[in-house]
């Protein structure tokens, strides 16, 4: 690829470039520090209840990050997100029980098979417009749910009773009983969450993300600019499905159980609502939404009116913050920066940070 001779401006001066590179490098170190410190949270928070609550929020957050990525980059909402939560969860159990694989291999196989399944499904659905796309993915999840509960599948999936798993060997030296303990499972969930956040952020910031956003903005112009618009969208769908699959694997590892409920629209609905609450415009927004949502579910559940209060809270949050909680905070921050600097540069910087 030839170098593009961009017009000179402050944004492309060598000094500015060095400052930007140095800033990016320090942000990476800071992020690595956060990841490293986060591993040791169970040393500070010793309550299994709270650890378990946050772990549930993080697992939901992983799924929400996946669908948030697809929505932000491609403008596609995956209603059938449960397909990529339930399928890998079942696959971990099936690979252990039916194929006799060790747990590490079972996890790898589950992720690989679920991602491959996403490629096949994506090849068919990413050509569709947003609403048909949403409905097609929903139909897929419901179809998988039906398959899982078929009488003929009962020996494999456990039917309506679900699949109780017995793992062979360990996952990264952790036994099945250890994985069920919140304090031990925490680093697994935390590192997986940080990895998918990094993956989604890098993909969004790369040229690939720019191609996706430009395609979303004007697909016809992209094609008339020499871009194939189908393959990048297929890759984005596959990436999103892979990220969601990680949450399914985490559920299987932590609970050693998979049921048809994981394939139900309600499971995907939690992730979708979490993404909307947190805001899909940033990589971290869906995670924030998932943590808030999980906390809300726990608090509202204690009142005995879980659905009622959840409904009221979700409507209130989405009505008050159409761009989600992080979208609102970002907007405030952008206004502050604009007021401080009185120019468009700050606002533009905020826009880039949001991506």
């Amino acid at each position: 690829m030839n170098a593009v001779a961009a017009p000179p401006s402050t944004a492309s001066s060598p000094t500015r470039a060095r400052v930007v590179r140095s800033g990016a490098s320090s942000r990476w170190w800071l992020w690595l520090l956060v990841v490293a410190i986060g591993v040791f949270v169970p040393k500070v928070v010793t309550s299994p209840f709270y650890l378990s609550l946050v772990i549930n929020g993080m697992i939901l957050g992983v799924a929400a990050v996946g669908i948030g990525f697809l929505m932000h980059q491609c403008g596609l909402v995956m209603f059938g997100v449960a397909a990529f939560i339930g399928l890998p969860a079942y696959l971990v159990g099936l690979a252990s029980a039916q194929l006799g694989l060790g747990l590490n291999m079972a996890v790898l196989l589950a992720l690989l098979a679920s991602t491959l399944f996403a490629v096949l499904v994506g090849a068919l659905v990413v050509r569709a417009r947003p609403l048909p796309f949403a409905m097609l993915t929903l139909a897929l999840a419901q179809m998988l749910k039906s398959v899982a509960t078929l009488q003929a599948m009962r020996p494999l999936t456990g039917g309506d009773d679900g699949l109780a798993m017995t793992f062979n060997g360990t996952f990264l030296t952790l036994t099945q009983s250890e994985l069920a303990k919140p304090a031990v499972f925490w680093p697994v969930a935390w590192i997986a969450l940080c990895a998918v956040l990094t993956l989604a952020w890098c993909a969004g910031r790369a040229r690939f993300g720019q191609i996706l956003r430009a395609t979303q903005a004007n697909e016809e112009r992209m094609r008339f600019s020499g871009f194939d618009t189908y393959v990048p969208r297929l890759i984005a769908f596959t990436l999103a499905a892979f990220i969601v699959s990680v949450s399914g694997v985490l559920i299987a590892l932590n609970s050693a159980f998979a049921s048809a409920e994981l394939l139900d629209f309600a499971t995907g609905g939690h992730a979708l609502v979490a993404m909307l609450v947190g805001g899909g415009g940033t990589v971290g927004g869906p995670l924030v939404g998932a943590l808030l949502y999980t906390w809300g579910q726990d608090a509202f559940g204690a009142t005995g009116h879980l659905e009622l209060f959840t409904g009221i809270a979700v409507v209130a949050v989405i009505a008050a913050f159409p761009q989600g909680a992080t979208g609102f905070v970002l907007q405030l921050w952008r206004r502050e920066r604009k007021a401080d600097h009185g120019g468009g540069d700050a606002a533009r910087g905020a826009d880039h940070a949001a991506r």
Partner: protein
């Protein structure tokens, strides 16, 4: 350079384009396409660029039959276009979109395009927040990237003032000559077309009326009757 052979596009029983054939042999020329509303000008552009599949006929560029080729392939091989309605990337800055397309098409001198279309002042602005005239210029600049051999511009001056239209055609003339690009321009501003174009094709009701030098087309009785009127 470009040869259109018996090109036809039908929607059911309606023949939007009916057996149109013409040739643009030279490089570095502006070739105007004129005709009244419904003449088939935009359909002709769509059929040449692959946006719409012709029901009959062939399109040849530099001796190669490209009729069945997909749009991105045509663009990468040097055929670009702009649209009747401004077609840019809203939400991206002018810089982001020009650089994205430039990197895809290996544009060696983006700075020249930015300077020629006077986009430096709005280079870091989000494209949908700039003035309409600037957006039109971004649209054409996008079509100009990647050293296209053939550009098809569908009403590039739509919505522009007379002064802006003249300035736009002057920019185009300079770029077309400098870069050796052949540009097919659909335009309703007849004065601009006759002033700046090297050759003109006139259409009416999907059929070709005449192709030739501006003076020949202006004097053609069928063109006068169908489009120009006696005042021309």
């Amino acid at each position: 350079m470009l040869r259109v052979e018996d090109l036809s596009v039908s929607y059911g029983n309606v023949h939007a384009l009916d057996g149109v054939s013409f040739e643009v042999a030279q490089r570095g020329v502006l070739h105007g396409i004129i005709g009244p509303n419904g003449a088939g000008k935009s359909t002709l552009m769509d059929a040449i660029t692959g946006r719409r599949k012709p029901t009959r006929g062939r399109v040849w560029v530099d001796g190669e039959d490209i009729t069945q080729r997909p749009v991105p392939w045509r663009r990468r091989r040097g055929m670009s276009r702009s649209f009747q309605r401004t077609s840019i990337f809203p939400g991206l800055t002018v810089r982001e979109q020009l650089e994205l397309v430039a990197s895809q098409l290996d544009e060696p001198d983006l700075a020249q395009i930015v300077d020629t279309f006077e986009l430096r002042d709005v280079y870091d602005e989000v494209a949908d927040s700039i003035a309409y005239g600037d957006q039109r210029r971004v649209d054409i600049a996008l079509a100009m990237i990647g050293e296209p051999r053939l550009m098809l511009l569908d009403e590039p001056a739509a919505g522009l003032s007379t002064t802006e239209t003249i300035a736009l055609f002057e920019h185009l003339t300079v770029l077309v000559r400098q870069r050796g690009v052949t540009a097919l321009v659909v335009e309703h501003d007849v004065d601009a077309v006759f002033r700046f174009c090297d050759a003109i094709t006139a259409l009416d009701l999907g059929k070709l009326l005449v192709t030739g030098k501006p003076a020949e087309v202006r004097a053609d009785a069928r063109v006068i009757s169908a489009y120009l009127g006696t005042a021309a």
